[in-house]
């Protein structure tokens, strides 16, 4: 198959899966939260409430997009584009099997970190251009939080890179298969926890949702957004949830592989295994979201700078020593 037709197919597959995954996670979120809150959740929309996320999304398409008069229009209008482009771009490196991957980049993990940092600009400009005090504070909080937690995210990955000696995501999974254990057991347990905390903060989910903090800042940097642009922020959040959980399972949980399964059949079970692991991790984050209140802004920054970053640096040092000495 020629490169271009292959690329076209891959793009189309991602085009189809990304929104489906977002909707699937939305459903998991509404049903999961309902289960945790002793209520039935959506029941009446379509197949026992199962097409509820689709109905919600469809609703937003028909809603008026209000652009307030004081906003900086081009910046305001394009702010969601930064976020969704960065998030969809990350699909490139998620491996469903050694061959079922959009592209296995040599710099895979580094690429992930570089691209994911772009969405900060989208959030900050969204907050600024809204000309609204709540948006501005939300945007600043969001930017402060995204940059503070990007570091632990980056640094926790370094341990994995040291162990795997490669930055390619497929290479990392293959290394884990070679090891026989996923990295979360083989030395990177702390890194995994840091990664999940930092990823939660990057996604601005409770208990790190003060940029949105609806009881303080009404809707944070999204206050002035309505209609389709709000939906784009919303959908990006869930695509991001999927991507981050998929990356976490790839880096730490053995990705598309489960020990004892025959590796030659990985193309068949790989996608299922990875999506399964992703949804389990996502459910973990959903359970956390519905159990905790949110931190305060200063507590959040303290946690990042005084705990997570030093600990992840320590993790790097320990991993490096283990690698060199043994």
């Amino acid at each position: 198959m020629s490169f271009s037709s292959e690329l076209l197919i891959k793009v189309l597959v991602v085009l189809a899966t990304a929104p489906v995954m977002a909707l699937g996670l939305t459903l998991l979120e509404v049903k999961g939260s309902a289960w945790m809150q002793r209520r039935p959740g959506p029941l009446h929309v379509g197949l026992r409430g199962f097409i509820f996320p689709l109905a919600t999304a469809a609703k937003y398409f028909q809603k008026e997009t209000i652009i307030p008069k004081d906003v900086d229009e081009p910046v305001f209008k394009w702010a969601p584009a930064w976020v969704i482009a960065a998030v969809v771009g990350l699909f490139t490196i998620i491996p469903l099997s050694p061959t079922l991957v959009v592209r296995d980049l040599e710099l895979g993990v580094f690429f992930l970190l570089a691209i994911s940092s772009i969405s900060t600009i989208g959030v900050l400009t969204a907050g600024w251009s809204s000309a609204n005090k709540f948006s501005l504070m939300g945007g600043l909080r969001a930017a402060g939080q995204l940059i503070a937690y990007e570091l632990p995210l980056i640094l926790s990955v370094v341990g994995v890179v040291i162990q795997a000696e490669t930055m390619s995501t497929v290479g990392i999974v293959e290394k884990q298969i070679e090891f026989g254990f996923p990295f979360v057991i083989a030395g990177q347990g702390i890194a995994f926890i840091i990664f999940m905390i930092a990823a939660t903060a990057e996604m601005m989910r409770t208990p790190f949702d003060m940029p949105i903090g609806e009881s303080e800042l009404t809707m944070g940097f999204m206050t002035e957004y309505s209609g389709i642009r709000f939906l784009i922020f919303y959908i990006s959040e869930y695509i991001n949830l999927f991507v981050m959980c998929a990356i976490a399972s790839t880096l730490f949980l053995g990705g598309y592989h489960i020990p004892l399964l025959p590796t030659e059949w990985v193309n068949f079970y790989g996608p299922l295994v990875l999506i399964g692991k992703t949804f389990i991790l996502a459910f973990l984050l959903i359970a956390v979201r519905w159990s905790f209140p949110r931190f305060r802004e200063d507590q959040l920054q303290t946690l990042a700078w005084k705990v997570l970053i030093p600990v992840s640096l320590l993790n790097i040092m320990v991993t490096a020593i283990m690698k060199v000495v043994f």
């Binding site: 004081d70 400009t125 930017a143 940059i147």
Partner: protein, 172 residues
């Protein structure tokens, strides 16, 4: 001419256009965003010049961090939303145009004289190799960088802190 060359010319054009927008737009935030475009085209150009690691470093450090710092700076210095008429020194414009055009002219002349038809070679760069060189051949500057960064950190904190050093020590 290869397709990749045409694309390169297009990129260079884009680079210059966004660069010009950075210095001519009357809105501070727009200028920062145009700088992002400039940097993004530069990053693509780097990739075409087979320097992928540098390109990603550019994205990670510049777009992901330095621009955010700029946006913070703009917001802290209370730039107004929307166009700002007082952004430029109007009386300087002609003078500045003359200077920059003459610099450009001299450079172009020299460049045309020096590099006649030298061709860029697009070949892969191994990041692993880059790391190895960085940590062996360039180990001294590498360590020096940490001191520079430490100095920048301490200096920045001292300057930006609320109870400024100026007030603490120099005031009696």
């Amino acid at each position: 001419m290869e397709a990749i060359d045409i694309f390169s010319y297009f990129l260079l054009l884009l680079l210059l256009l966004s660069g010009i927008k950075v210095v001519t737009t009357s809105n501070v935030i727009h200028a920062a965003i145009f700088l992002v475009f400039t940097l993004a085209t530069t990053a693509i150009l780097f990739i075409l010049l087979s320097a992928e690691f540098v390109a990603l470093v550019l994205v990670l450090v510049y777009i992901g961090a330095v621009i955010v710092l700029f946006l913070f700076g703009v917001m802290i210095t209370r730039a107004p939303l929307g166009p700002n008429a007082e952004l430029d020194n109007d009386q300087n414009k002609i003078f500045a145009t003359l200077i920059s055009i003459s610099i450009f002219g001299i450079f172009t002349y020299i460049l045309l004289q020096t590099f006649d038809s030298t061709v860029v070679i697009r070949e892969g760069t191994s990041t692993k190799l880059l790391g190895e060189i960085l940590l062996s051949r360039f180990v001294f500057p590498f360590e020096l960088v940490s001191f520079v960064l430490l100095g920048a950190l301490i200096g920045g904190i001292t300057l930006a802190r609320k109870d400024n050093a100026l007030m603490d020590e120099d005031q009696i």
